[in-house]
């Protein structure tokens, strides 16, 4: 064991040293020839750009097999989903210049698509040689990116484009993606810092960040297919998955303590190791408030990382999906479920009076003048719905509840231990989770842990 740790430590030092000192082998070429976009990289990494066009990060969509009510032949993701964390999507809330604010006469750029590594002319899901050339390789691979350049603007033809840093300086600082590269988009997803997923990845908030690990140490990607887990609200995927219990990471029996290992069959690692969550817990898209700059915005209630408690539920990897609920399916009895922690979020938006379906919104009109129904009408028109005007006029406000996975903010020192669950005031509501009265009595008795905790107490003092 000791030996392995020492070897691992040396290995880590070696990797860090390489990262810090060995420059990217392409640097000389780039110094000489400049950076012209992906075609420069393709000189030595042929096929990368083309393969990238086939990933979730370019398409914001994929086939989805584990969610209720979806067409298995169609692709779903941020490109086209309608739900209440973001009531718009790449289609209805396309990046554009919004109408003028009536009080100030000013306009601004707004819309989804800013979380896309393209130039907007070659947008989410676009294909072909032009799309290949438009990929922003450096946003994920450079440590010297100047983010002043990555913003929406108008080109000389008056078209709205997303800027990129394609400078030689940025292209000379190439490496595998750092946590910051990934957090460029993931930190502020959902309308602000620590909103959507409620996680920050710092040494204070995550045991792995404290060890110097970065996103891609776990999310190891091949051909730009970045693995994901089974978050009920992360539908689009590249067909590769990761989990804490992967053999290449910890396996299913990572503890010296056999009592803890026995739990991993029914209790997910996250349940004990991610005891807190954070981020947005409620948002209202039906009424937007005016800011001092006179533009309007929806109101979000939110907390910092680790400031709220998760909700616990059985989860077997399949997802319930209705206009008012997106969340885990599973039960104590199905033999496939484990108890997982979830970050709960509730959003208020408009529903179709006739069908009960959730409607989506183009943010441009309400941002300019606060008229949210005009946003619903614009989205309905873009989607080719019949009578968009009437749909918007009759639309009924309502709430949708979403269960998000809680996959980061990992802790060892504050991991839940015996009494956190097996005391009568423990974090799990055994009865609601489907345990019988008799089982609950047993599961909330100190009998289960008394001797163990007593022995540990002696050891610690």
């Amino acid at each position: 064991m000791k030996k392995r740790t020492a070897a691992a430590a040396m290995f880590t030092v070696a990797i860090l040293a390489t990262a810090a000192y060995a420059a990217h082998p392409g640097a000389d070429y780039i110094k000489e020839n400049g950076y012209k976009g992906p075609e420069t990289c393709e000189e030595c990494h042929p096929g990368k750009a083309k393969a990238f066009l086939d990933t979730v990060h370019w398409k914001h969509a994929s086939k989805v097999t584990n969610v209720d009510g979806l067409d298995p032949k169609k692709e779903y993701g941020m490109q086209n989903r309608i739900y209440v964390m973001c009531n718009g999507n790449d289609i209805v809330n396309n990046l554009k210049e919004i109408p003028k604010n009536p009080e100030t006469g000013k306009t601004k750029f707004s819309g989804c698509n800013t979380c896309h590594p393209g130039d907007h002319l070659n947008d989410v899901g676009s294909k072909g040689a032009e799309a290949e050339k438009a990929i922003d390789c450096l946003v994920c691979h450079s440590t010297a990116y100047d983010f002043r350049k990555r913003k929406p603007m108008k080109d000389d033809k008056g078209r709205v484009v997303m800027g990129q840093d394609r400078s030689k300086e940025a292209a000379l600082a190439i490496g595998k993606p750092t946590a910051k590269n990934c957090m460029v988009c993931h930190e502020a997803a959902g309308g602000g810092v620590i909103v959507k997923r409620g996680f920050s990845f710092t040494k204070e908030t995550d045991a792995h960040a404290a060890k110097g690990m970065v996103c891609v140490d776990c999310h190891k990607a091949k051909d730009h297919k970045i693995p994901t887990g089974t978050d009920p609200n992360n539908w689009a995927n590249d067909g590769v998955r990761l989990s804490c219990a992967d053999v290449s990471c910890h396996g299913a029996s990572p503890h010296k303590d056999a009592d803890l290992n026995r739990h991993t069959a029914k209790v997910a690692c996250q349940t004990c190791h991610i005891p807190r969550t954070g981020g947005a817990f409620a948002k209202d898209f039906t009424v937007w408030a005016q800011n001092p700059d006179k533009f309007y915005e929806p109101t979000t209630l939110k907390l910092e990382a680790n400031e709220s408690s998760p909700v616990y539920a059985w989860y077997n990897g399949t997802v319930a999906n209705t206009p008012h609920f997106i969340g885990p399916k599973g039960s104590k009895k199905d033999g496939k479920s484990k108890i997982y922690p979830f970050k709960i979020f509730q959003g208020k938006a408009f529903y179709n009076k006739k069908t009960g379906e959730l409607l989506s919104m183009d943010f441009a009109p309400p941002m300019a003048n606060g008229n949210t129904r005009a946003g619903v009408e614009s989205a309905a028109r873009t989607l080719g719905m019949k009578n968009p005007e009437q749909v918007a006029k009759e639309a009924v406000p309502g709430w949708q509840t979403i269960y998000f996975a809680s996959s980061h903010l990992v802790t060892k020192t504050r991991a839940l231990s015996c009494a956190n669950c097996h005391a009568p005031n423990g974090v799990l509501n055994f009865k609601e989770l489907g345990y019988s009265d008799k089982e609950v009595v047993k599961l909330t008795s100190p009998e289960l842990f008394f001797n163990k905790v007593a022995a540990k107490m002696k050891e610690d003092w």
Binding site: C112, T114, C115, A144, Y145, D146, F147, R148, K180, V184, A188, A189, G190, G191, G192, V193, V195, T202, F281, A282, N291, P292, D293, L303, E307, S308, S309, V311, F325, G327, I344, Q346, T401, N429, E432
Partner: protein, 108 residues
């Protein structure tokens, strides 16, 4: 239905902890929302910077000293720039407004 009920419980807990947070330990922190009018930072290795914010409520200019690495990094690579609206909490120490929390209000 069950899900809704249990959420109400969560909301109650959240509400309590929000109030607990603001009334308790954070008593001497001042909160503001304002737009950055100026950022002053010296070089790529700077360990401190100042940002001048125009308070949305009072329209006064407030000079904030920023020392945390994550925010300094965002000044250096221009993820935070002049014109951005910021939610800030700071403490007055030796006459300086030391930032404890410095976040862009916007996101996507």
């Amino acid at each position: 239905m069950k899900a809704v009920v249990s959420f109400l419980v969560v909301a109650a807990i959240v509400a309590v902890s929000v109030f607990g947070f603001t009334k308790g330990a954070q008593a001497d922190e001042i909160k503001m929302v304002g737009v950055i009018t100026k950022i002053e930072i010296e070089g790529a290795s700077a360990k401190t910077a100042t940002a001048t914010l125009k308070d949305n409520k009072t329209e006064q200019l407030v000079v904030i000293t920023v020392n945390d690495d994550l925010t300094l990094d965002k000044f250096k690579d221009h993820r935070i720039v002049e014109g951005d609206e910021i939610r800030c909490k700071y403490e007055v120490i030796d006459g300086k407004n030391i930032s404890r929390f410095f976040r862009k209000t916007a996101g996507c």
